[in-house]
Structures are given as C-alpha cells and as structure tokens.
C-alpha cells in the first residue's frame, strides 16, 4: 500500500476504534433508540393494557334503542373488553350515584346522555384519567355513529338502508412515479421518509461537529505536531473524515436495523420493510456520504483554524445554517416537491443532500435535475475539500490570535 494511503488507513482505523468504544457512542447508538422506543411505547402499552382489562362502563341514556346501539358498537369495537351496563335513569341523583362509584373505583367510566343532551346531540364520557387516549376516539366514534344511525332511522330508512348509507369509503392513493413495481405509497412511507430526512440532518450535523471538536482537541493537546512528523495534513484530514464518517454510517445502520427489527413484526408501523424501497435506502447512503464529505471538510477546516470550541462557535453557526435551513424545508418540499423552492433547494449543494433526497422520496424529479444535483454537489465537494485542506494545513500549526476571514484567505496562498 502506498505510504499516503497507509497513513490515511491507520488514522481512519484509529478514529473508528477510538469512537466506537466511547460511552457516548454506545449510549447514542444502542440506548437512545431504546429510550425513545420506551418513551413512545410506555403510553401505548399502558393504553393497550387498560383496554384489555374488563372495563366497567355505565351508559346512562334517555333512549333505550340508542343505548343499545352504543353498547353494541362499543363491544364490537373493543373486542368485548367494554362491559357496558345500560342505565335508563338519567336523573341528576343517579348521575351523582354512578359518579361516586367511579370515584371509588367500582366503575371505570360513565357515558351520560340525558334528555337535554339527546336533544342537542351531545354526550359526556367520564373517566378517572385521560390515560387511554387511543380508545377515547373509539368511544367517540361509537357514540357518534350510533347517533347518526338513530337520526337516519327517524327519517324512515330501514336498517339495511342505514347500513348502506353508513358504509365507509376506501380511498386508494396512487401516483404516477414511473418506477417499476411502485404504484402507490401510503402515508406511513412519507412519515418514514420525513424521519429519514431528519436522521440525515441530525447525523450530518452531529458528525460534522464531532470532526471539528476532534481537530480542536488534537490541536489543543499538540498531538498534531507529532502526527505531522509521520503523516501529511491531507492524510490526517482524510483519515479523520473517513474514520468518523464510517462510525456515523455504522450508527445509522444500527438504528435502521433496530428500527426494522422493532417494526417489522408489528406490520402496521411505518418502518415495516416493504414501505421503504431499496432505492431509497441506497439514496440515503449516497446522500449521507456526499453531505458528510461536504460538511465534514468545512468543520475540519474550522476546527483547525481556531484554538477552542468557544472561538469556533461563530463559524460553527455559519456552517450549520444551511443545514437548519434545509431542515425547515423538509415538510414544505414533501408537500410540494415540484415547486421552484424545492427545485432550487435540491440543487443548492449545501442543502441538496437533504432536499434532493426528500424529492426523490416523494416523487421522481426529472433526470436532468438529479444529474445536475449530483454534478453540483460533487464539484462543490471537490472545491470545498481543496480549500478546507489548505486551511487545515496551515491552521493546525497556528496558535494564539483568533484568525479572521482575511487571515484564512491569506493562508490559502501559503505554500
């Protein structure tokens, strides 16, 4: 192996092994998704648990037929986990009595529709807590559809006519994307893509900042001078960028695998394998790598130019601004992927890794736009890497005064 490549490879391996063993990597890679799943999962588990228990509900209703309809709907919608007792007495005294039962845990819920409520088309559903938020919607739907059925029956429709009227409508979403084997994508896929774009943003940002910190640390601890006796600045920078980038990619792969493993058995979850086409996974890897190569070089240059994180803060903000700008455009671009804003943002190299990925995920942009995006991005990476390497080459040996833009421009002319 040529000496330059060998050095780059050694630094790359060193960066990888050093980072993978850190507590922060293990926490963010393995515990963070688990923690998020825990936070999101707990209410769902609690809600599901509440539903599986035998729910004792008193249904006070001034009309017997309506009460029976609500009871039947609730039973069928909740797989009989709601044990509904119809109470024809809707007096205030009776309400007080059942509320006492609710307070003393002898009941789990009260549905109350007195004569006035019946007239106005309202109902009350009382619980001790709002914990079972998912199932509240089922209760609401059961009451509303029963009311509608009652009203339709009053107009003289037969039960069959009412069933026919109340039949739901299936809306199949289609789009003409032009990719073979893909004719439709559901909302879950879009949610997944939004999620992936956000992961792209977070990863580019956090690993860019990690590079900057690492360069600052090497400069502050003066280890850089020892390394420079054996390797060129270009080799050091390339090794560091590749090493940290590989760690980032590994983290994303671990997250993706955990997500699929977690979601696939549940089928309904947006991460289920079949809703993310392989092409989008490949695009994700490509845009991550290109975006990372662009941003990491700039962060490395900033890290090399300054003496501390505080000094680099201002530039740090300048660098992350286009990323934040791209992040704010994720939803508008997903909504209108062919708008002028979307086209411009997906060609502008500092936002294109996220924006073009979004557009590719929700539609198929014209081929020339995809090609132009890649050409501009790769060209920009080349130019930025060259400028960044030169700043890095000079900056890592400069201590003392905080450099300004003019100083850095001067450095570009140094041999």
């Amino acid at each position: 192996m040529p000496s330059g490549l060998r050095n780059t490879w050694i630094i790359c391996k060193h960066e990888c092994s050093k980072r993978i063993r850190t507590r922060s990597f293990l926490i963010t890679t393995f515990l963070m998704p688990g923690f998020l799943a825990f936070i999101i999962g707990i209410p769902a588990v609690l809600g599901a648990h509440a539903n599986h228990a035998n729910q004792r509900v008193v249904l006070g209703c001034a009309r017997r037929d309506l009460a029976e309809m609500i009871r039947d709907r609730l039973r069928s919608n909740t797989n009989d986990s709601y044990n509904v007792t119809i109470d024809p007495d809707v007096s205030d005294a009776e309400l007080k009595r059942v509320e006492d039962d609710l307070d003393t845990n002898r009941l789990d819920g009260i549905i109350w529709i007195d004569a006035a409520a019946l007239e106005k088309g309202t109902a009350i559903y009382e619980r001790r807590s709002a914990r079972d938020f998912i199932w509240q919607q089922l209760v609401r739907n059961s009451i509303a559809s029963s009311f509608n059925r009652m009203r339709l029956a009053q107009t003289g429709l037969t039960a069959a006519q009412i069933d026919d009227t109340m039949r739901g409508v299936e809306v199949e979403m289609r789009f003409r994307g032009g990719r073979s084997g893909e004719t439709a994508r559901d909302a879950a896929a879009i949610v997944t893509v939004l999620l992936l774009a956000t992961v792209l943003f977070i990863t580019l940002l956090s690993y860019g900042v990690m590079i900057m910190r690492s360069v600052l640390e090497e400069k502050a601890s003066r280890v850089i001078e020892v390394l420079l006796c054996s390797a060129t600045p270009d080799e050091l920078m390339a090794g560091k960028i590749l090493g940290v980038g590989a760690v980032g990619l590994l983290q994303v792969v671990v997250w993706g695998t955990m997500g699929l493993a977690f979601a696939a058995p549940r089928g309904r979850m947006p991460m289920a394998g079949h809703v993310i086409p392989l092409s989008l996974m490949i695009y994700f890897a490509i845009f991550y790598l290109l975006g990372y190569l662009l941003y990491s070089a700039m962060f490395a240059a900033v890290g090399s130019a300054f003496n501390s994180t505080d000094e680099a803060q201002h530039w740090n903000f300048v660098l992350i601004s286009p990323l934040i700008f791209a992040c704010t455009l994720i939803t508008p671009v997903a909504a209108a992927p062919n708008s002028t804003l979307a086209v411009v943002a997906s060609l502008f190299p500092f936002s294109s890794p996220i924006m073009m990925y979004m557009r590719l995920a929700v539609e198929t942009p014209p081929v020339w736009q995809i090609a132009l995006c890649f050409a501009i991005l790769v060209g920009t990476i080349y130019v930025v890497q060259r400028i960044a390497t030169q700043i890095y080459r000079v900056g890592i040996l400069m201590y003392g005064k905080r450099p300004g833009v003019r100083d850095m421009v001067k450095w570009l002319r140094y041999a």
């Binding site: 050694i10 060193h14 050093k18 601890s221 280890v223 850089i224 001078e225 390394l227 006796c229 054996s230």
Partner: protein, 309 residues
C-alpha cells in the same frame, strides 16, 4: 554497543540558505548549517528565533520559501521521515486512550506493524521505568511520565536522526539523568541527535556542535570547542561577600551577570584580569576568582544582546 556506521563522514542534515516567511514576518532568513552523522547538535536561540520553523522544515511539516533542506545527503522527501524521530517542545498524546494505543498508533505511522511497535514500546517502557503504566490512559499519568512516553514515541522506530525539542523540560533531576544516559547510548549507537533548547548547561555537557539563531539567522555556529576558543578568555567568575558595585565602578567590565554573591564577568577588550582582582579585593571579601572560558550561556546572552542592540 557501538553499531557499524557507514554514515560517519556523511552529513545527516543540511540546510542551505533556507528562508520561510509568514506574510510580513520572516521566521527563518537564509539559514544554513549542517549536522554530521553521529553528532549531537545544539540548535540554540531565544524564543521566536526560528528554531521550531527550522525543525518543521527539516521534517516537511512546512516547506521553505527558498533554499534546500537535505536529509541523509538527499533533498528532503517524505520517505526520509521513517528515519526521523521527533520530540516536539509542546508534548502531545491522545489523553483518553492508553499509552499502548498511543504508541501503537505512532509506531504504525512511522512504518512499523502494530505488533512490533507494542513490543518495542514495552522494552522502552522497562528501560525508562514506566512498564506498569503501559495500559493506563495518558490522562492518568503525571507530566513527567507523559514526557517519557513522548520520548519513547520518538525512538520507537529506531530512527537515524532524532530531533529533541527541549527534551528535559518538566523532568526531575533523576529522570533528566536517565534521559541523558539514553541520549548518550543513542550517540554511541551512531545516531545523529539534534537538540533545540534554551538550557545552555545541558548543551555544553552533551553537544558536539551548535548553531545559535536569532531573528531567523545564524549568528554563531561550529563545534563547541571552536566556538569557545574563538570567544577568547575575557571571562571571569568571582565569588564575593560585600558590595558588588565595584564591578560597574572599576571601568574594566564590559558586561556582567551578577547574582549578589557571585558574578560572571566579561572584561573590556585589553583589560587586565589582575586589575579587576585588585579592585574586587578593595571592595569585598573574595572567596574565588577564576579566569575561564566563557560559558555557553554567556556566549548566548552576549551574542543575542549584540544582535538585538
């Protein structure tokens, strides 16, 4: 154990009219010197004189604007670096990883395999009494120990040329002595050693030749013997008790370094040392009066002050 060395007559390092500037500031200005193989060479000079820039040019960290740097008789190329060990003045190791990992990394970058680097690191750690620290993180170690690790890093790949920038700074006398012994062993093995330092006493004891730089230019160079001989014997050391003002009043002293009870004196050209002794005896009680070669420190101060005047 002296190695058979074919480099005896060779020049290991040669700088020829080397110049380096940073914008308006000229760090090194037409500097030329050479270091023979197997020599211990002192690169001396006050802060900001251009020593570090000169060293950085020797090892390709920066490139000269003008002039030529030759290593081992050839114009500098990166492949030479596997024959060069460098201990920079500002010590630097990765603090969060172990000594072993640091040395394995630096050894590999110097062209060794990780296994060889670790094996040699263990040998050196034993030689420098820090074997039990090899698996500790650098951040857990004292400054002196880190210094030894850094020293090992510079020697791990058995380089022909060893560049040591202030190697004794931060070391207690016992460890400084240990390091000195190792440096002398390296010299016995025929390796070339470049010292960059302000510590003239060490240079005087160890170096074969020196180059004194100031404002990027060489102001004095040659073998230590030649340098001292060329400076004449106008230097006197006086140990006394009493009023030291006679030094300034007698009219015989060009410059002096007075410590209160002890003074190093440079006589005016043509002045008689006996006359100074008489003047001193009249003013103070003299316990020692010695006419001697100038110390390197005196030469250093004298030359730098002259150059700055």
């Amino acid at each position: 154990m002296a190695r058979t060395c074919t480099l005896d007559s060779m020049v290991t390092v040669e700088l020829e009219r080397v110049r380096k500037s940073y914008g308006e500031f000229i760090a090194v200005d037409s500097l030329s010197f050479s270091i023979s193989a197997g020599q211990i060479f002192g690169l001396l000079g006050p802060n900001g004189a251009g020593k570090t820039s000169s060293i950085r040019m020797m090892i390709g960290i920066i490139t000269p604007d003008e002039g030529v740097v030759r290593l081992f008789g050839e114009p500098f190329k990166r492949s030479h670096l596997h024959q060069v060990g460098y201990l920079p003045e500002e010590r630097g190791l990765y603090r969060k990883i172990t000594v072993r990992e640091n040395l394995a990394l630096l050894g590999q970058l110097s062209g060794m395999t990780s296994r060889d680097a670790i094996a040699r690191a263990h040998k050196w750690a034993e030689r420098l009494d820090i074997a039990q620290w090899v698996d500790k993180r650098v951040e857990e170690m004292s400054k002196g120990m880190q210094q030894k690790i850094q020293f090992i890093a510079a020697l791990l790949h058995e380089p022909e040329l060893i560049i040591l920038d202030e190697p004794f700074s931060g070391l207690d006398p016992i460890n400084a002595n240990l390091l000195k012994d190792v440096i002398l062993e390296l010299k016995d093995q025929g390796r070339t050693i470049l010292f960059s330092t302000h510590r003239m006493d060490q240079v005087e004891k160890l170096c074969d030749a020196i180059c004194l730089v100031n404002h990027g230019r060489a102001v004095l160079q040659g073998s230590l013997r030649e340098v001292k001989a060329g400076y004449g014997s106008r230097f006197v050391q006086i140990a006394y008790e009493g009023d030291g003002k006679f030094l300034s009043r007698c009219g015989l002293v060009e410059s002096s370094n007075n410590y209160g009870n002890y003074a190093e004196v440079k006589l005016c050209a043509g002045a008689d040392a006996q006359a100074l002794l008489h003047a001193a005896m009249r003013a103070a009680k003299i316990s020692r009066f010695e006419i001697m070669e100038p110390s390197l420190e005196q030469i250093f101060i004298d030359r730098v002050e002259k150059a700055n005047a």
